[in-house]
Symmetry: C2
Subunit: 280 residues, 2 copies
């Protein structure tokens, strides 16, 4: 089954477009003590990631591990990332690797092999990629993704304040390239687009102009996009967009004894609340 | 000493702007056998990387490990990358991490911490970064880099055929942003630019318009840029650009018994030849 069809099925089955980001924020991990070395923090990051997976399974269609926080913990952190990705897929969650990779030729193919191949060390169902190097830089990612029924989410209009400066001049052509690439492949194709909830009017216009493209929508929650803003990225049938919440769905504001003593249970309740908030 | 000053000193001391890329191309690694598992290939990638480091030390100012090939080998590959980066710095080489990272806020800071902080697990003197997310996405990288006398190389005009499509509309503004950021900081600043040797006329024009910016020039050798093309990115004093050769400086064309039996010696001779070719 194609990645787009698997996404639609997962959204139907769980009844929500909510994706839960896995950002193992080093200073806030349950059990963190002053003086922990990198290996100790990597073990806590792994435990946190597995708690999010346990809390998310069955409640949401997908999780989105943020590669940077694992990479900062060195090889032990990358082993934790590998374990969290594998556990999430085992639990029936789709895994969107948030790595924002981008390169050319065999180098791009190596990044794709790392995440989207059947024996990938960091197994993902989809990968976020940067288009800045051009359409030929996306081709190796797409080749690997399609061969194995995986997908991509191409950065198109990100949620941060300065995103317009070097995205606005190309957004129309890039959006057309993405949707045309998908159009040849069915109702929805394998090339998604990252469109921030912090640009709701522009996002709604992009939604209308890209009927064959799944959106991945960051910026809901901690970054200031509202549930109503985020819902504008959905089609009327409730498909076509995944809406991400990371820290707002997985960390308390400040110290919380329940989070420290039982993070999986605490996160499960928090995810349920964010699901309701998103329903509006 | 600032990264820009360290670069200038290293180019003076070695008498060449040549940078040697470390691309552990899995099928071509010395000692590779059919059926090797990922851990075995990671060990070969580490040995290859250390051979390039040994061959490059004293001959060139810097090496450029390509993160993708290590990432494709999983956590063991990332350990190999960590070992190669540390060995290169130990040998007196500057290390340019070719990771093309790009993200926002604390996520960007995590990528910077992974490579540019004093206790980085993958210690580099500079990192390649993608500007597509906007100037605010580059700020956390620059903060970490400057705090520790490291540098960045921002993708500006890459060597691949399709690079113009989403780079050309922003290249002038991005070039100005890079050079203005540097201008406030001295003759050369910490923010370099990646400009492919495959666009020699455009590169020469960028060179003239960016007097405060070091260039990192891929595309010489395997990708078709000539030595004369690459030299156009240098200032008359021989500074201002690092010119990279990766596979053309580290792998034979096809099977080569000398490469298989003594890769470090073979690569040392090959680097010497590429140095001469670049001198013209």
């Amino acid at each position: 089954m194609s990645f787009a069809d698997r996404l639609a099925r997962a959204v139907h089955q769980t009844g929500t477009p909510l994706v839960v980001g896995i950002d193992p924020w080093p200073d806030r991990l349950p059990g963190r003590r002053a003086g922990d070395d990198r290996t100790a923090v990597a073990a806590l990051a792994r435990a946190f990631g597995l708690a999010v997976v346990g809390a998310a399974a069955g409640q949401v269609p997908a999780v989105k591990p943020q590669f940077a926080f694992f990479e900062a913990l060195g090889p032990a952190g990358m082993q934790a990332l590998a374990d969290v990705c594998a556990a999430a897929r085992q639990a029936g969650l789709l895994v969107i690797g948030d790595a924002k990779r981008g390169d050319i030729g065999t180098t791009a193919a190596a990044y794709a092999a790392a995440t989207l191949s059947p024996d990938a060390p960091f197994p993902c169902d989809a990968l976020t990629v940067s288009p800045f190097l051009g359409p030929d830089s996306l081709a190796p990612f797409l080749t690997v993704a399609e061969a194995h029924e995986r997908g991509l989410f191409v950065l198109l209009r990100t949620s941060n304040e300065g995103s317009g400066r070097w995205q606005a001049p190309v957004v129309r052509d890039l959006a057309a390239w993405i949707d045309n690439t998908n159009a040849a492949r069915g109702e929805y194709g394998p090339v998604g687009a990252v469109v921030g909830a912090t640009h709701p009017d522009e996002g709604a216009a992009l939604r209308a102009s890209m009927p064959h493209t799944w959106f991945l929508v960051p910026g809901f929650g901690a970054q200031g996009g509202s549930a109503a803003d985020a819902r504008r990225m959905l089609r009327p049938d409730g498909l076509g967009a995944l809406i991400n919440a990371s820290r707002s769905a997985t960390f308390p504001n400040g110290h919380d004894a329940g989070f420290e003593s039982g993070p999986e249970r605490w996160i499960r309740a928090r995810i349920a609340a964010v699901r309701e908030e998103l329903r509006g």
